[in-house]
């Protein structure tokens, strides 16, 4: 989720304008977190192939109506796909194609729902939503600082890439190109050193503002009618999926 956020951070600037006006973006972050995680838990427990397909269709439909940018969603899904594929192929090899396919659809539906939550919510709102859902401050602050550090890393990496390109480095001729590997390893080391130096400055910046250990949200939002409708809709979808799975079994 964090990786998807970091990847999408720059592209987001120009897209934010329209994304922020979407109904999903406007929802209270606590409601989004509870609704999405509730649906993910139910979807992850489904084993019947036809109900898993319904869950996948529901996830895709939610992604479509949430107005999360499809390209960003696809890029983030592509980043997660190797892990999904690995799990599905493993199940396919040991338990046959039906179970393998079910695993693929089930994992995909969960990942899509989580990506919609991650891409359709301001990062800080996501962490402050967790904080307001009584997740310990130490955990949410660590998550926020980790996210800040990942942004620093990505920022420094981008600068180094441009600097490498500007000096004629094109990535080497093959994966075994020793010179290219050497440059890449130096880049990685330099990125870490520079990101660490900047992280120190950010920490000093926090200390300048009397930061101790908890980054609490300041302005609190309240749950409105639209939030209730959203939560009720997600509860209905989760209920129908659970009924399809367990009601039909009984």
């Amino acid at each position: 989720m964090i990786e998807a956020h970091v990847r999408g951070h720059r592209a987001r600037d120009e897209e934010d304008g329209s994304a922020e006006s979407s109904w999903f973006w406007q929802l209270d972050s606590r409601v989004k977190i509870v609704g999405t995680f509730g649906l993910v838990v139910v979807a992850s427990l489904i084993t019947r192939p036809e109900i898993v397909l319904v869950a996948l269709a529901a996830a895709v439909a939610i992604a479509a109506i949430s107005r999360v940018f499809p390209k960003r969603l696809l890029v983030a899904y592509a980043a997660a796909f190797p892990f999904i594929a690995f799990a599905s192929v493993s199940v396919f090899l040991f338990s046959g194609w039906e179970r393998g396919f079910t695993m693929l659809a089930r994992t995909s539906s969960c990942v899509i729902l989580l990506l919609v939550l991650a891409l359709g919510t301001e990062t800080f709102d996501l962490f402050s939503g967790l904080r307001r859902l009584r997740v310990p401050g130490l955990i949410t602050t660590l998550l926020m600082l980790t996210f800040r550090f990942l942004l620093l890393l990505s920022d420094e990496l981008e600068r180094m890439k441009i600097s490498r390109k500007a000096r004629g480095f094109s990535g080497g001729r093959s994966l075994l190109d020793r010179n290219a590997l050497r440059v890449i390893s130096f880049t990685a080391g330099m990125v870490l050193v520079r990101a660490s130096a900047r992280a120190d400055r950010v920490y000093e910046g926090l200390k300048c503002k009397a930061f101790e250990r908890d980054m609490k949200p300041w302005r609190s939002t309240s749950v409105g009618a639209v939030d209730v409708v959203f939560l009720a809709s997600f509860a209905i979808i989760a209920g129908l999926l659970a009924f399809g799975q367990y009601g039909a079994l009984s």
Partner: protein, 305 residues
């Protein structure tokens, strides 16, 4: 009473590089002081020591009467507002008002709303309160960083290269803003012209204090400028040339504002008024006599008299 007092301050990095040596410095309450000097002179280190991020190797530092030690650093930092060169390192929250409120909330100050409003007003960014920080320009981020520190109401503002990376307009707006602020300030900068506009006193630092005085005193001393790796501002150079050509320059201006004041003084003294007269010509054969006189449109008739 001095709000900042440094006595025989010595600071060395872990690799034994001496960054500050025998620095003695006093700053009065309400005074605005610039530290100028070349790269690696120890300007930023001095600010970091004052903010309690680096501990002196020897010597003593007092802020508002409190001695800087490892244990007093946190409480001293509450009286000191350090504004970094790069605002990106100092802003954390998603919106402007959240970021400005971050410090006062950590300090558990009262009336956070009114503090935030006052800080935004003081920095001229009231209308940006709800804006996302990552969408602001560099100059505006700098203002947000300043507002975030002002909202904590520190006794002293430390500014590290405040005008670096700003376009000319943002720079002049920031200079105006800092000039109008009623705070004790210590500004580390290369920008002599900006410093001349803002500060009462300047210190040339090159590991140790080379010289101190007004900006004008400093730029008059060529050997000091050379030693400190500084350049005389273009406007001072121009008036220096005028002086050598017999133009009656009373005091060498350091900034454009001072130059305008100096010109006005001379014009008034001579009982004249300003005549904007641009004389353009080239030296080609055909255009040898093609001289052009340009006078300002407004009051052009007066100017010709």
């Amino acid at each position: 009473m001095n709000i900042i007092e440094m006595k025989d301050l010595v600071f060395a990095y872990e690799d034994k590089t001496v960054a500050l040596k025998d620095v003695n410095l006093s700053i009065k309450r309400g005074e605005k002081v610039a530290i100028v000097g070349p790269n690696g002179a120890g300007k930023s280190t001095l600010l970091n020591v004052l903010a309690g991020f680096r501990m002196p190797f020897s010597g003593k530092v007092f802020v508002d009467g409190k001695e800087l030690t490892q244990s007093s650093a946190d409480s001293i930092r509450r009286d000191i507002g350090l504004i970094f060169q790069d605002p990106e390192d100092q802003i954390f929250m998603p919106t402007v008002e959240e970021d400005v409120a971050f410090g006062p909330r950590n300090l558990r100050l009262d009336n956070i709303d009114s503090r935030v409003q006052a800080a935004l007003r003081a920095t001229g960014i009231e209308q940006l309160a709800k804006r996302k920080l990552h969408k602001l320009s560099y100059g505006m981020k700098k203002r947000v960083a300043i507002a975030g520190i002002l909202a904590m109401d520190p006794k002293v503002l430390l500014l590290d290269e405040p005008t670096s990376g700003l376009d000319p307009r943002a720079r002049s707006e920031l200079v105006k803003l800092l000039k109008g602020m009623d705070k004790t300030m210590l500004i580390a900068t290369h920008d002599i012209e900006a410093a001349a506009e803002i500060v009462d006193r300047a210190i040339v630092l090159n590991v140790s204090i080379v010289v101190e005085g007004t900006m004008r005193d400093i730029i008059m001393k060529k050997e000091v400028l050379d030693q400190a790796g500084l350049e005389m501002p273009p406007v001072s150079k121009l008036f220096g040339v005028l002086d050598s050509m017999g133009y009656p320059v009373e005091t060498l201006p350091v900034s454009m504002d001072q130059a305008v004041a100096e010109l006005t003084k001379v014009i008034e003294r001579e009982g004249r008024h300003l005549h904007a007269h641009v004389h353009e010509h080239d030296h080609t054969e055909d255009a040898k006599h093609a001289h052009k006189h340009i006078v300002p449109r407004k009051g052009a008739d007066d100017a010709r008299t």
